[in-house]
């Protein structure tokens, strides 16, 4: 994949000939490579412009004035969305959530971030680029807005960090002891699946192999999350050390950070830091420990596909294949990257590891709830005063949390992203914890101005776009649900359509291969349950005629053709 990135960056697209050449080099068929290239939306098949602009399609961006921003760009560069200027200078494209939900409207230009855009600022950016400035020279540095953390004795992530201090535990404990500690801490995966981390490491540790891998999942694709971005900016050391502990525990000698392309601007800094660790002997050969070991980390850049956050898809992607999830009969801890035992962990999970060791398992267990000890990072965006990152102790009451954000007049909260849970007033007395309201990290708040169906349509578009396409319930089921939402929005739907949505969602949920299909209809069904009146309002009365069929529309094309023909030649 890095070869493809080189070509994409240099030539701004991957041509037929390039694909032929590359496929020969890697001894694969050209069509197989084309399959890989066309899977990822940041690889282009035609020139995407010397300066490629990506604008976020997510609702949060739309409600922050995305449309005005798009118009401003279109005016400044003179072409419409999805097109490239004639001189191939600029290309303007859409992209799903770019992980800057707290700084929207935002965009990426050549993968450099530009935040808090205004039409005026856009004019300025474009003219500076026209005058020869490079994107990285004028881009913004996304601020890490940490809105809340518990009192200092309870903060886990965002507190001062002492370089290398915790690494001394390597000398004190052997791998089994570290796994034991992590198991005892009840740390569970923060990527959304909440699998117990200690157990995962244990499995991988027990599988004997000549080579094992640690992969950090920094693909953070769930719309509305940006907690991993902030961790990578603020405390990348924690991540590296977390990976070192993981490697030591399971016996892996190679680590990889799968960094989503949207965060490419963080790559250089991370690489610098990795070099420093190498220089200081904390990475590389014979790392000082009770049982000395070899371990090094490299960065693998994604190329745009939400599904690559799913761990098996991520592994396929790293192997240079299409990012399709596997069937679930074998887990990566047994047969993962290159068919070797592999641990895939989220950024936040790995960052928690050195902190737990540092503060001691008991003080960690004292925080949070019984099932989910410790703290959790939430990315808050949408209609509230204080957007940004919240480090909260598990178990916080939803109302208390809402008060912190300063949100008012709330209609609903999308908890844990579009594939998570949609909350309404009745849920606000619940607690944020593993026992009650589980959360992966994304919190999107919507107030009463917002149109529920518009939001749901946006989610649905996202899932249609991001389905990997391997199984029919998700591939076409989501597409058909999307059409149903359209029907509702246009006021053509009847009661039967609501029943269809319920039935179809259930089929998609139970028969899809991976988490994307299984959870894609969650919010739609939550919404139908929690806001039945909104749906009812949109229904038209039951008839025997399908209102979605519009005869006038259906003959428009014919009329145009005949009109054209009956206009006599000059």
């Amino acid at each position: 994949m890095s070869v493809l990135w080189d070509v994409q960056r240099k030539k701004r697209f991957i041509s037929h000939d390039d694909m032929t050449k590359i496929s020969q080099e890697f001894n694969m068929s050209r069509m197989e490579l084309e399959g890989v290239v066309t899977f990822y939306h940041f690889y282009h098949r035609t020139d995407c412009g010397k300066y490629t602009i990506y604008i976020n399609e997510c609702v949060i961006s739309q409600y922050s004035g995305r449309n005005k921003i798009v118009e401003a760009f279109e005016e400044a560069i003179g072409v419409k969305m999805g097109h490239v200027t004639a001189d191939k200078m600029f290309g303007l494209f859409k992209s799903p959530c770019i992980g800057l939900s707290d700084q929207e409207p935002a965009c990426l230009i050549n993968f450099q971030p530009f935040t808090h855009l205004t039409p005026y600022k856009i004019k300025d950016i474009i003219s500076q680029i026209r005058n020869g400035k490079k994107a990285f020279e004028i881009c913004d540095t996304p601020k890490s807005v940490i809105q809340y953390k518990p009192s200092i004795d309870k903060t886990v992530f965002f507190k001062p960090y002492v370089p290398y201090a915790t690494l001394s535990f390597l000398e004190k404990y052997n791998p089994e002891e570290i796994i034991e500690k992590i198991k005892k801490s009840k740390l569970a995966g923060r990527g959304g699946a909440f699998f117990p981390t200690g157990l995962k490491w244990q499995f991988c540790h027990n599988n004997k192999a000549d080579q094992k891998y640690i992969i950090c999942n920094a693909d953070e694709g769930e719309p509305g999350t940006f907690k991993d971005r902030v961790l990578l900016e603020e405390h990348p050391e924690l991540l590296i050390e977390g990976m070192i502990f993981a490697a030591y525990s399971v016996g892996a000698s190679i680590g990889a950070i799968y960094l989503r392309a949207e965060y490419r601007y963080l790559k250089q800094k991370l690489e610098k830091l990795l070099s420093k660790y190498r220089e200081d002997g904390k990475l590389g050969k014979e790392i000082l420990a009770k049982i000395p070991f070899d371990f090094d980390i490299y960065i693998h850049l994604g190329a745009g596909a939400y599904i690559c956050g799913e761990e098996t898809a991520l592994i396929h992607s790293m192997e240079g294949k299409r990012g399709e999830p596997s069937t679930k009969e074998v887990f990566p801890v047994e047969k993962g990257f290159n068919d070797k035992p592999t641990v895939v962990n989220n950024v936040e999970t790995l960052c928690a590891v050195p902190r737990i060791l540092e503060m001691g398992v008991d003080s960690w267990l004292a925080l949070g709830t019984d099932k989910t000890p410790g703290t959790k990072l939430l990315s808050v965006s949408g209609d509230c005063e204080k957007k940004g990152i919240y480090e909260i102790e598990w178990g916080m009451n939803m109302r208390e949390f809402i008060n912190l954000t300063g949100a008012k007049d709330i209609k609903m909260i999308q908890f844990s992203g579009p594939s998570g849970e949609l909350l309404s007033e009745i849920d606000f007395d619940r607690n944020i914890s593993g026992e009650d309201l589980q959360c992966g990290g994304s919190v999107m708040i919507f107030d009463n101005k917002r149109d529920l169906l518009h939001i749901l349509k946006n989610y649905s578009n996202f899932f249609v776009e991001e389905s990997c396409g391997i199984c029919v319930p998700c591939r076409t089921g989501n597409f058909l649900l999307n059409k149903k939402i359209n029907k509702l929005i246009l006021g053509h739907a009847e009661e039967k359509d609501l029943a269809d949505i319920k039935e179809w969602s259930k089929i998609i949920k139970t028969t899809s291969r991976c988490g994307l299909g299984q959870s894609s209809s969650n919010s739609l069904n939550d919404a139908m349950k929690k806001f039945p009146e909104i749906f009812k309002q949109r229904l038209s009365e039951n008839t025997d005629f399908n209102k979605a069929f519009n005869l006038e529309k259906a003959i428009e094309e014919y009329d145009n053709i005949i009109n054209d023909l009956s206009t006599p030649y000059e």
């Binding site: 001894n27 068929s29 991001e466 029919v472 899809s512 005629f545 094309e557 053709i561």
Partner: protein, 421 residues
């Protein structure tokens, strides 16, 4: 023999070899788990999802389960049966499947499943997406309209130097299988045939080889079970001395279905004892003269007149039955849905091989109905109560359904009557 394990499938307790594939174990015990992508030589692919079962209460695909001690598996619960049916229906809605013109008809795994499940219509609207038919490869034709993306060919067919011949490209709803021409040329005749044979539908064809088996000898010609159609509630109300009133029409169809209606020969006379035809090509009654119990619709909607007639039928008939593929999903006329209307008209009237040299008129007149942009299945215009599949449907089948609706009695439709390819 200590590697035997005990498990239950649908309440039946079964002994099997540990680690054996569930689909095979079930089959040995006469429990059939339908599959499309699974075939023995390959690792289970788990792409088609129709073998979805419940393992200890959780949904998973049967083909990826290796049996172990104590497993409790559900295969044929109403929910799972409906899921399977739904997936096949979704595959039909997603692709462009015109069985009457398909070389693989009768040898098609998916068609056979559809027969077995008694599918008459898909619950999903047809997507009618534009997909290519690729004639370029040396030996093969890739009919992506029919491809269900089971991935068999992608995984199985490789050149001798280990390269893929078939590959998935794009993602989401746009995902397709494409052929690599260079690699395809390297395949031997036998390897190419193998590719066609493992395709569970009619997406991979070998030039000059299709249609080899005569009717009656194809893979699925003799298999199959009878079907008892289920009636929706609501018996037809009428006075005892009155006859049932039936209307029929042919919209964008070929009248083949109407011909089939006549095919019950002299039974038609018995039929007329209880049935009276109102508006119908049989009677040449042009306008409804009274309200009808049943309206039989042949053909889909291709022009404005079709739409008006269909709407009129909906208003005047208690029950509408769509009979024949065209009424159900647009049928052969709907093949134009992938070509722009302009091209269709130009080909028909200006540039086609049968149009006169110098032809420059596309007929258009206020008295002529206008063509719609697409051919629409009837249920996308009005509500249709029952469907009788077939191209054309078997005469016995049609009348059994009609009688069954009129008299509220149940009939069993034999596999032969239901099957129409």
């Amino acid at each position: 023999m200590n590697n035997k394990v005990k498990l239950t499938i649908d309440g039946k307790s079964i002994k099997a070899e540990a680690g054996k594939n569930l689909v095979d174990v079930a089959k040995e015990n006469k429990i059939f788990i339908p599959t499309l992508c699974y075939f023995k030589e390959l690792n289970p692919l788990g792409t088609c999802r129709i073998c979805t079962v419940k393992l200890n209460g959780k949904h998973t695909t049967g083909c990826t389960v290796k049996v172990s001690e104590g497993m409790n598996i559900e295969v044929n619960t109403p929910e799972l049966l409906d899921n399977r049916k739904a997936i096949i229906e979704m595959l039909y809605a997603e692709g462009n499947h015109f069985c009457p013109t398909c070389e693989k008809s009768g040898n098609c795994d998916m068609q056979n499943h559809a027969y077995d499940m008694g599918i008459t219509v898909t619950r999903y609207p047809h997507v009618f997406s534009d997909k290519i038919v690729d004639f370029t490869p040396k030996r093969m034709i890739m009919e992506t309209n029919r491809c269900i993306l089971c991935k068999r060919c992608v995984e199985e067919i490789k050149t001798r130097d280990g390269k893929d011949v078939f590959s998935f490209v794009e993602r989401g709803v746009r995902t397709r299988v494409h052929i690599d021409y260079e690699q395809e040329a390297k395949l031997s005749e036998a390897e190419a045939l193998h590719a066609m044979n493992i395709c569970p539908v009619g997406a991979i064809l070998i030039k000059g080889v299709a249609h080899e088996q005569p009717f009656g000898e194809r893979k699925y010609d003799v298999l199959g079970k009878d079907i008892i159609p289920s009636l929706k509630n609501g018996k037809i109300k009428k006075e005892d001395h009155e006859k049932f009133i039936v209307a029929t029409t042919s919209l964008a169809g070929c009248f083949g279905c109407h011909m089939s209606l006549l095919d019950i020969d002299t039974d038609l006379l018995d039929m007329l004892e209880i049935v009276e035809f109102n508006k119908s090509p049989f009677t040449d009654i042009k306008k409804f003269s009274k309200r009808c119990h049943i309206g039989l619709i042949e053909g889909g909607c291709a022009n404005t007149e079709n739409v008006h007639v269909l709407r009129e039928f909906r208003k005047k008939c208690d029950i509408l039955i769509g009979f024949g593929e065209c009424a159900i999903m647009g049928g052969i006329p709907a093949m134009r849905n992938f070509i722009s209307l302009k091209e269709c008209l130009e080909e028909s009237y200006l540039n086609g091989t049968t149009s006169e040299i110098g032809a420059d008129i596309i007929p258009a007149h206020e008295d002529l109905p206008k063509l719609l942009n697409n051919v629409y299945p009837c249920n996308e215009v009005v509500k249709i109560d029952y469907y009788i599949p077939g191209c054309p449907p078997n005469a016995e089948h049609i009348w059994k359904v009609v009688k069954s609706i009129l008299l509220g009695e149940k009939f069993s439709i034999t596999h032969d009557e239901f099957k129409y390819d």
